[in-house]
Symmetry: none
Subunit: 415 residues, 2 copies
């Protein structure tokens, strides 16, 4: 069984709103094992809505629309669907009563044009709306099903959960399949390199399927199995997951909901180590990411953004001659910053970064994107040189990701 | 002239990603006066991509695609468009060279399958990609134009601005109606309150139109005028803008491309004041935002994320008895943190925040979301109490925004 999502609303075509409904519905459909092959967005225009619904009816079994059920003249979805299915619109007393009492509860009387929302296509199944005035509808026309939902997510989502989801589960009972997905999250390897390493698996994929998703902070590998039960699906994924992990182990930092800063935080906690951070080019971003994790106060002591050299000297104890002879962006300065912040924080382990985020400030020897990172703990310290490209913000992000991933390695390898 | 946006990517159909590209492109097209009547999303499937592009070609003059230009086997957009237009794919040496040097700059050699990205449809116009490996293309086929862009927004957006926008401006010269938009950016007033204050303007709107866009960091008011020339459009907007500014002046921090941290940075620069920041609950986010601005090293000296009390004492000189009698989350501690970081940084002005970001750590007296902020300069210091709601990350963001906005006020009002 396949579905198409049709979002109506000129504001979407003007780029005034993000289409969160399409994402929400796609996710729910996948969890029900219903394939969604197309999403379409169209404005509040009768002819174009009709054209889009015609095409959708031709290539999908279930057409789910959002928007266009409001009281105004440019709310047209219901009218177009009724016309396409040759149904008349009839006044639905219970809905009218619901709308009237909706306004009464707010101490207002119902505006005349809200009456329009109580008109429903002949023979439609009503989808009650407890958050707003517009009811939704399910219209079955031969082998095709139109499901009409309002646009506001706070109305649409509960309506989907309460009425549409059970309805679709019934429909798919005959062929009860669910889709179960597992995410493997990678840092430090590019999409094309990973594809090389997984080429054979990608070629012969069927069930489970395997997909590579490039993300700002790294790469996700999605394994998706189709089965009758979640247990079965998990079983199907197990073997493929083991093989992928085997091939890419050092680069896989986590699974599903894991974040890099969360994984780092957990191993700090497990090892009972307290962290301090000294930043220059990242300007506080690394500390920000570490502290996005609930409970990070258990392992994070101090972050210093020493943007100015005087701060590097006065606070972190970087020596004038280090800055003079090697420069603020150098392995020596990075190391001194890490050791300095570790000392003043009384931390067990510290990381530091200094680099050139750009757009200006680069030279031939030290171009924009050159970054030195350092890790220092009681037993050990190490420095790394990185070279990144991109805008200022991207260089900051890539630096934070690389340094956190390096810290993850370090915590796993060292006792 | 009309356009259709076609987004490719199975992750969109599985609801794993929000389609931010469609929104971005729609907004840019509107600003160029090009009507976008449809947005379509399709998976990484050759037949379905072909079907969607056929339909798009039938109903739009310009088809803009995002995604499917990567090095992997399920990157298919270029191949399908070449086939539709009967063009062969040819190796483009400059692009190949660009891709090779992209990997060289990272000290790596180019994986074999990246070569695929240097294949371009015969006779296509190249859209250079300075952030990544995949170039984009413009393929003109009779009266129709295909514009192919990569999926990652950090690559797609600059490519649109640098190459596609000027190309489309040329194309639309013949029929010069342009849409000119002006953004007024607001912090400290919610959407519904602003809607009340502008209700009459919202009711009467025609040309220019007025739209409220709720954003993470505040609220945008967009005024959009349609006219033959930009000068005319600006003239149309002038009066309405003056009225909106008159009603909301104190809450408007900037216009169009302005960012709050950028506006703060500019007034620091103008006043020749150097800034230091002490953070607790925001964990470095305020410093991160300040340093997202190019050139911030001219006015930002030091950020200290004193997550642990020992750091608040040792580094910022917050006294034990202050922490004992008032607690780490208190007006007194915030003030001491601001004065402390100002002193050690040798700054002219300092801000500090301490609060409870949650989800745990709240009490009846000091609930999650309670935040104290402080500003200290040579002549003056002040403390403010804030109460925010939301997740940990949202509380961090709202705190950073509120404190930066307060600093903006302070810099405007004090000599």
């Amino acid at each position: 069984m396949s579905a198409e999502i049709v979002s109506t609303g000129t504001e979407l075509l003007l780029g005034q709103n993000l289409n969160t409904n399409a994402r929400y519905l796609s996710e729910r459909l996948a969890s029900l094992g219903i394939s969604c092959y197309f999403q379409t967005t169209v404005g509040d225009n009768q002819d174009r809505i009709e054209q889009v619904l015609e095409i959708a009816r031709g290539r999908a079994d279930i057409i789910i629309t959002t928007g266009g059920l409001g009281p105004t003249m440019d709310d047209l979805t219901k009218e177009v669907v009724a016309e396409l299915c040759g149904r008349s619109l009839q006044l639905h007393e219970p809905s009218l009563h619901h709308i009237e009492s909706f306004f009464q509860r707010r101490g207002r009387s119902m505006p005349e044009n809200n009456k329009k929302q109580a008109l429903i296509p002949e023979g439609a199944i009503i989808i009650p709306n407890h958050q707003g005035t517009a009811p939704g509808f399910i219209v079955e026309e031969g082998t095709k099903t139109f499901i009409l939902l309002p646009g506001p997510p706070n109305e649409m989502e509960p309506m989907f959960e309460e009425t549409v989801k059970p309805y679709l589960s019934m429909k798919t009972k005959s062929d009860p399949t669910i889709l179960y997905s597992r995410l493997l999250k990678i840092v430090g390897r590019g999409e094309s390199v990973v594809e090389d390493q997984l080429r054979d698996l990608l070629m012969e994929q069927s069930n489970p399927t395997i997909a590579l998703l490039a993300k700002q902070e790294g790469l996700h590998i999605r394994l998706t199995a189709r089965a009758k039960t979640e247990a079965e699906a998990k079983e199907l994924i197990k073997e493929l997951e083991a093989e992928v992990v085997h091939r890419l182990r050092p680069y896989i930092f986590g699974f599903d909901q894991d974040t890099l800063s969360g994984v780092v935080g957990q191993s700090l906690l497990k090892k009972g180590k307290k962290l301090a951070i000294a930043e220059s080019c990242t300007g506080g971003l690394i500390a920000h990411e570490i502290t996005n994790e609930a409970g990070s106060s258990a392992y994070f002591l101090l972050g210093v953004t020493a943007y100015d050299n005087s701060a590097k000297k006065a606070l972190l104890g970087v020596e004038e001659k280090t800055l003079q002879s090697h420069g603020a962006v150098s392995a020596e300065t990075a190391l001194a910053m890490a050791q300095g912040v570790k000392k003043i924080a009384g931390a067990d382990i510290a990381v530091a970064v200094t680099g050139i985020a750009g757009p200006s400030g680069g030279t031939k020897e030290k171009p924009v994107g050159l970054v030195y990172g350092a890790i220092a703990d009681d037993a050990y310290s190490e420095v790394k040189e990185f070279r990144f490209t991109g805008t200022r913000e991207i260089i900051k992000e890539r630096t934070a990701t690389a340094v956190l991933n390096w810290l993850r390695f370090h915590l796993n390898e060292k006792p």
